[in-house]
């Protein structure tokens, strides 16, 4: 990567090279990741459900999502007559921009973060709340009652679950003493009985709240009520077809990856792992392994639980998660104060 960067830095200048490598690298990887994750989801679902999942397209169906993507590319793009055309067309483009930006902020290794910012965590939390805007635009512009309901549910849900996520993140920030993600990983870890442990071990409650929060923010079951199939047909994307629909899929799985990576960075030690100091390339590998672990647990939950009802979802966030997260934050502050 750095050799490539040096090569490009000649004609493009340092910033240009970073931008190019970053955009191409991230886009390329995210595309691959979406294809992989959808395949993984179908295989996980299959094996949980006593069946095999995709088998015929490539060995064990590995090319299945490639076929799906190509098919969606070649599909007619329908724009229903009664839509708010501009907003309708803009929504699928907007939906994964915030996620893309967040992806560039996750530190991949000791010297590998596309954008290393002192307040990276704050920016991530801000940006990840923006996806819902696009979802609401999609729902509203579709001029379909199911879509509007889905969009409304989505807004209410994200507003409710942003807060516990933020509070959980703050607990970690208190312990780590930084909002820079890179430093958060590289700073000396807290010690428990003399052994350095990731933040997830000292902040287990925050980790659980964070996990529940990101599951809700990515509209994953059991919190998938904005697109609840059995109630709202397709929710906010009911009226989208072809590639526009694929964009929402793309965004959902990218979001899973990015938020999973954020969780891995915050609670599971990010890119740190055995021998990572000696072999820096292991950093991204560790990060991805931890990320996919988080993502796998999200999939596991999806194929196991029924869906919550909307009011239950709301009261779960406001009446349980937020007080708990607040209490956790206060407790963290008190413990830190006592230790100091």
């Amino acid at each position: 990567m750095s050799a490539l960067h040096a090569l490009l830095a000649g004609p493009l200048g340092g910033f240009g090279a970073t931008l190019l490598v970053g955009v191409v690298g991230i886009m390329g990887y995210l595309t691959f990741n979406v294809l992989f994750l959808i395949w993984l989801e179908r295989k996980v679902a299959g094996h949980i459900q006593r069946r095999l999942g995709p088998m015929e397209v490539g060995p064990h169906g590995v090319l299945q999502t490639v076929a799906d993507m190509l098919k969606l590319l070649g599909k007619q793009l329908l724009t229903p007559v009664a839509t708010d055309r501009f907003v309708y067309l803009l929504a699928p483009l907007l939906v994964f921009l915030p996620t893309m930006c967040v992806a560039s902020l996750i530190p991949l290794g000791r010297a590998q973060a596309f954008a290393d910012m002192p307040y990276g965590l704050i920016i991530i939390v801000t940006l990840s709340g923006l996806t819902v805007l696009a979802i609401f635009m999609a729902g509203w512009a579709s001029n379909n009652k199911y879509a509007v309901l889905g969009g409304m549910r989505s807004v209410a849900q994200v507003v409710a679950y942003e807060i516990p996520v933020l509070l959980a993140v703050l607990s970690v920030v208190l312990v780590a003493g930084t909002t820079n993600l890179h430093q958060l990983v590289t700073n000396p870890w807290p010690r428990l009985l003399g052994v350095p442990v990731p933040y997830g071990v000292v902040e287990p409650l925050a980790a659980v709240i964070f996990f529940i929060g990101i599951t809700a923010e990515t509209n994953r079951a059991p919190f998938d009520i904005p697109e609840a199939e059995s109630e709202l047909v397709g929710g906010f994307h009911t009226e989208y077809s072809g590639m526009r629909f694929a964009m929402f899929f793309f965004a959902e799985y990218t979001n899973m990856l990015v938020l999973g990576a954020l969780g891995a960075t915050l609670f599971l030690g990010g890119f740190r792992g055995p021998f990572q100091g000696a072999v820096p390339l292991l950093g991204p590998v560790y990060l991805l392994l931890k990320t996919y672990l988080v993502v796998f647990v999200m999939m596991w939950a999806r194929w196991t639980f029924p869906r919550l009802r909307f009011d239950q979802l709301m009261s779960f966030a406001w009446k349980l998660l937020i007080p708990l997260a607040l209490a956790n934050l206060v407790a963290t502050a008190v413990v830190l104060g006592v230790l100091a």
Partner: protein, 174 residues
């Protein structure tokens, strides 16, 4: 060929205009291959056959192996309409609307005797059903049976895949 009428000339001009700008046969082939292997059916059942259709999607038969297990509830996202069950006269206009809502390219499988010809519910003077789906929409593959077994539906699906790979749709040679 006899006399070339103005109408014929107009048709020729139209054909020339409508011909693709560039013929990308390879791309078409690849796309057709992808389409054949990614047939997302519409979540849509009418009667008894729908149960066998669901059985085909369930563990033992597992349509997902062929990439056809992604049942989409919205017609906008479906490629394949599996007409499973009796089409009543009250339902026929609804089915037609659903079919029109699906984006091209799209295919339809008629599953069971009812959607082929009215099946066991057809008799002289019947008033309740539409005698077969082909009265109001194109059908690519017929799967006979009452209801057909899930294996039969899978066989029908594979036939449809063959048809798509050859690049033929709605009976028109490519």
């Amino acid at each position: 060929m006899g006399v070339v009428t103005p109408a014929d000339r107009e048709l020729d001009a139209l054909a020339a205009e409508a011909a693709p700008f560039a013929r990308l046969a390879m791309v078409e082939d690849v796309l057709n291959l992808a389409r054949a292997n990614s047939l997302w059916p519409l979540t849509f059942g009418l009667a008894c056959c729908a149960i066998e259709m669901m059985a085909a999607g369930a563990s033992r038969y597992d349509l997902d192996r062929f990439g056809a297990g992604v049942f989409r509830p919205s017609p906008r996202q479906a490629d394949l309409m599996i007409l499973a069950g009796t089409i009543s006269r009250k339902m026929a206009p609804v089915i037609r609307t659903l079919w029109d809502q699906m984006p091209a390219p799209k295919w339809a499988i008629s599953m069971g005797g009812c959607t082929i010809s009215g099946g066991p519910f057809k008799y002289p003077g019947e008033y309740a059903i539409s005698e077969g789906a082909e009265k109001f929409m194109p059908i690519d593959v017929h799967v006979p049976g009452c209801p057909p077994r899930p294996e039969a539906l899978i066989a029908g699906l594979l036939k449809l895949e063959e048809k798509i790979k050859r690049g033929r749709r709605f009976g028109r040679a490519g």
